[in-house]
């Protein structure tokens, strides 16, 4: 059949084409049964495209032999916008980058500007940032587990994870009034102090989740079908993962302990006692389990942070509305829920950044998606995309 496709149909060779199509003995006696490759357009509007990913799959039966992703459907020119805004005006935009874990984005941006302008952040603000970043990580990982469960076909766990995430969003809402795009972190500190009784509620939630997360582990990760579906699927070695620039939980699941909180410590993380979770196989199952384990570590950090939380101001003194950092460059990064999230800012001494480059972990992780998922079954390819957990606000920026 491939011969026919190559032949261009024109009047001159139509007769030839007909002859080709005509039944003759030589074609019948071809030694193998050849099946055609099916080219499938996946997305950009697809129930499990995690946003607006478009990909072209080549299918040989149920096996995906080739993946070509197309991105850019959510490109909102944030890097260009940043050049036209003052430093503090760009702050709210960062929340829209990775909208599932916007606390980290705001923090990374604020950290870079603080580095650039030499602003010292008060200790209480650092602790508050840690507390909210870790809550945000838990919320993001819960969302990940929920969507993964749904993609694997288990519809009920979705609601359990969302129930827990909802409780975190309530805590956030009480704090800053927003549920998704908080704009809580400010250059030099944070925008609001804790309301009365917030810490008690937060501790109650932490104690609750510590118990329930173990139940969810049993329900979803320990299930026979789920294990059968995930174990050994789309494995990735450490070398390939590094070569493809994967960071965050997918990289750690291959055994590389690359966690910015430990490898390039920032804020008050050096004072916290927690483990960088690593797994060995780098398959889908490890990529899912590592999230669940990180939730447990985050709970550990949260308990310590709440215990150690000092009194004091929540924002640095004398931070002007229009920050005018000296000319220069700065790079700072945090460990977001998805990986190494960095901001690279070039300043020319004016009140607006000259260039803001955002290093989104989703962008880097999604890049490896074809390399990881090619050769897997169609159902597993969708799951593999899910385990990389891309957020398209961050991929396209």
């Amino acid at each position: 059949m491939s011969k026919i496709e190559e032949t261009k149909v024109s009047k001159a060779n139509l007769a030839e084409l007909e002859k080709e199509l005509a039944f003759d003995e030589t074609r019948e006696s071809e030694p193998t049964l050849k099946t055609e490759e099916l080219v499938l357009n996946f997305g950009p509007q697809h129930p499990s495209a995690h946003g607006v990913l478009r990909a072209i799959f080549n299918l040989d039966g149920e096996v995906v032999t080739k993946i070509v992703p197309y991105i850019g459907y959510l490109h909102r020119c944030f890097e260009k916008i940043a050049e036209k805004r003052t430093y503090s005006q760009f702050m709210p935009f960062t929340d829209r980058m990775d909208y599932v874990s916007s606390m980290h984005n705001g923090w990374a941006y604020a950290m870079t500007v603080e580095k650039l302008a030499d602003i010292k952040v008060p200790e209480r603000a650092e602790y508050l940032r840690v507390i909210f970043a870790e809550f945000q990580r838990i919320a993001s990982h819960l969302l990940f587990l929920a969507t993964t469960a749904t993609e694997a076909g288990a519809l009920s766990p979705f609601f359990y994870f969302f129930d827990e995430r909802e409780r975190i969003l309530w805590l956030f809402e009480r704090l800053c009034g927003a549920r998704l795009t908080y704009n809580y972190v400010r250059i030099g500190g944070v925008s609001a102090d804790l309301p009365d009784g917030w810490l008690e509620d937060a501790l109650a939630f932490i104690n609750r989740l510590e118990k329930t997360i173990l139940e969810y582990d049993k329900l979803l990760l320990g299930g026979y079908i789920f294990k059968k579906r995930m174990k050994g699927v789309a494995p990735f070695s450490a070398e390939r993962a590094l070569d493809w620039g994967i960071t965050g939980p997918p990289l750690r699941s291959t055994g590389i302990p690359y966690d910015i909180r430990r490898s390039d410590p920032y804020s008050v993380y050096p004072r916290m006692d927690f483990d960088v979770v690593i797994k060995d196989n780098g398959d889908n199952y490890d990529r899912v389990c590592i999230r669940s384990d990180e939730i447990k570590q985050s709970l550990k950090i949260l308990k310590q942070a709440i215990e150690q939380l000092p009194d004091g101001p929540i924002i640095a003194d004398g931070v002007a509305k229009d920050i005018r950092p000296p000319a220069g460059e700065a790079f700072a990064h945090v460990e977001s829920s998805r990986g190494d999230l960095g901001y690279y800012i070039v300043s020319d001494g004016s009140i607006k950044p000259y260039r803001v480059k955002i290093q989104g972990p989703s962008f880097a992780n999604l890049q490896a998606f074809p390399a990881i998922a090619e050769g897997a079954y169609l159902g597993d390819v969708v799951l593999t995309l899910g385990t990389l957990d891309p957020v398209f606000g961050e991929v396209d920026r």
């Binding site: 099916l38 499938l40 357009n41 697809h46 129930p47 499990s48 299918l59 149920e62 469960a149 749904t150 993609e151 694997a152 076909g153 288990a154 519809l155 009920s156 979705f158 609601f159 359990y160 129930d163 979803l220 299930g223 079908i225 789920f226 059968k228 579906r229 079954y377 169609l378 159902g379 597993d380 390819v381 969708v382 799951l383």
Partner: protein
């Protein structure tokens, strides 16, 4: 036929030929079954939504009527009045015929189901084969839906569905064989009649194989590969909307009813139960809904298999198990 002596007398008294009597009784009975099916599907959809909601920390439909009991009527009206979207390149006749071909065989398959000692539309000698064979025509409808939609997701869905249904037909038919051997008849009423001890106790392996392959035949989780929304959007009925979609929904739920009813007839003692005879249909329905609840419970708890795992389970686990069951049953009966 149901033509009892009094009816025959009435007919001959009024000069009505027997065939007119027979035909009209058959027509009325199928209309009754049709109406019951419609009601049953409404109840099932409501039940499914409530069961799902209960397992997912939700309320489910609450606003239309008491606890949302009228929600399904509202939904049906909505679906019936929706625009009928027709893909431009769709194969006209195949696209139109497919929903009917999915729905009708499932419905006709119910005609031989005995829900009481004499409550059966048509008691065939080969009733058991009939309930296996006729709903199997529905697979053709599913394939037609996939082919006619001119949509690759639909084609993939229907290919999966065909592979799955054809594969699971084999262990399903073989798992029943043990029951037929014990009962000594393929007549459904005879199977229930001889079933004083439930066959589930005599045929535990057969029951498990039958239940699993019935779940696979009705495309329910963990075997809902033909319509996995995470990969294939909606599988073979991706392109269907409005009334045509309603037909698919009906076909699916009627298949579930038929499968559960068959499980009750074959393994759970059919209409047998304590109390007077007029309670027989009640017992039957209670058992049937228990099986349906089990299917829903499974659906809202488990993730789904991958296509190769589904095939492996069918051919490498269930088929040998079913054959083993036949062998064991035969050996015990001979010895």
């Amino acid at each position: 036929m149901l033509s009892s002596s009094s009816l025959l007398q009435f007919a001959s008294h009024n000069g009505m030929p027997i065939w007119v009597l027979n035909t009209s009784i058959a027509l009325i009975m199928s209309l009754v079954v049709f109406a019951l099916c419609g009601l049953g599907v409404l109840i099932l959809v409501y039940m499914e939504r409530k069961v799902a909601a209960d397992m997912q920390l939700r309320w489910g439909p609450m606003h239309v009527g008491w606890h949302g009991v009228l929600q399904l009527i509202a939904d049906s009206v909505k679906l019936l009045s929706k625009e009928d979207i027709f893909p431009r390149n769709a194969d006209r006749w195949i696209f139109r015929l497919a929903p009917v071909l999915v729905f009708l065989p499932a419905f006709i398959g119910l005609m031989v189901m005995p829900i009481g000692p004499h409550l059966v539309v048509q008691d065939l000698n080969v009733g058991l084969l009939y309930v296996l064979a006729v709903p199997a025509i529905g697979v053709a409808g599913v394939i037609m839906a996939g082919f006619g939609s001119y949509n690759k997701y639909a084609i993939l869905g229907s290919l999966r569905s065909a592979a799955q249904m054809v594969s699971y037909e084999v262990p399903r038919a073989l798992s029943i064989l043990g029951v037929v051997m014990i009962a000594g008849s393929a007549k459904l009423t005879a199977i229930v009649g001889t079933q004083h001890a439930w066959y589930i106790f005599l045929q535990p392996i057969g029951f498990v194989v039958f239940l699993v392959s019935t779940l696979a035949e009705t495309n329910r989780v963990p075997f809902d590969l033909p319509e996995t929304e995470s990969e294939l959007v909606n599988g073979y009925h991706t392109e269907y909307s409005g009334t045509r979609f309603l037909f698919f929904l009906f076909g699916e739920y009627i298949a579930l009813i038929a499968g559960s009813a068959l499980a009750v007839v074959l393994f759970l003692g059919g209409w047998h139960g304590p109390g007077p005879e007029f309670l027989a249909p009640v017992w039957f329905l209670i058992k049937m809904f228990a099986i349906i609840y089990l299917a829903m419970w499974i659906r809202w708890t488990l993730p789904r298999f991958r296509i190769d795992q589904v095939m492996d389970l069918g051919w490498k686990v269930l088929l040998p198990l079913a054959l083993l069951n036949v062998l064991i049953t035969g050996l015990i009966m001979v010895l």
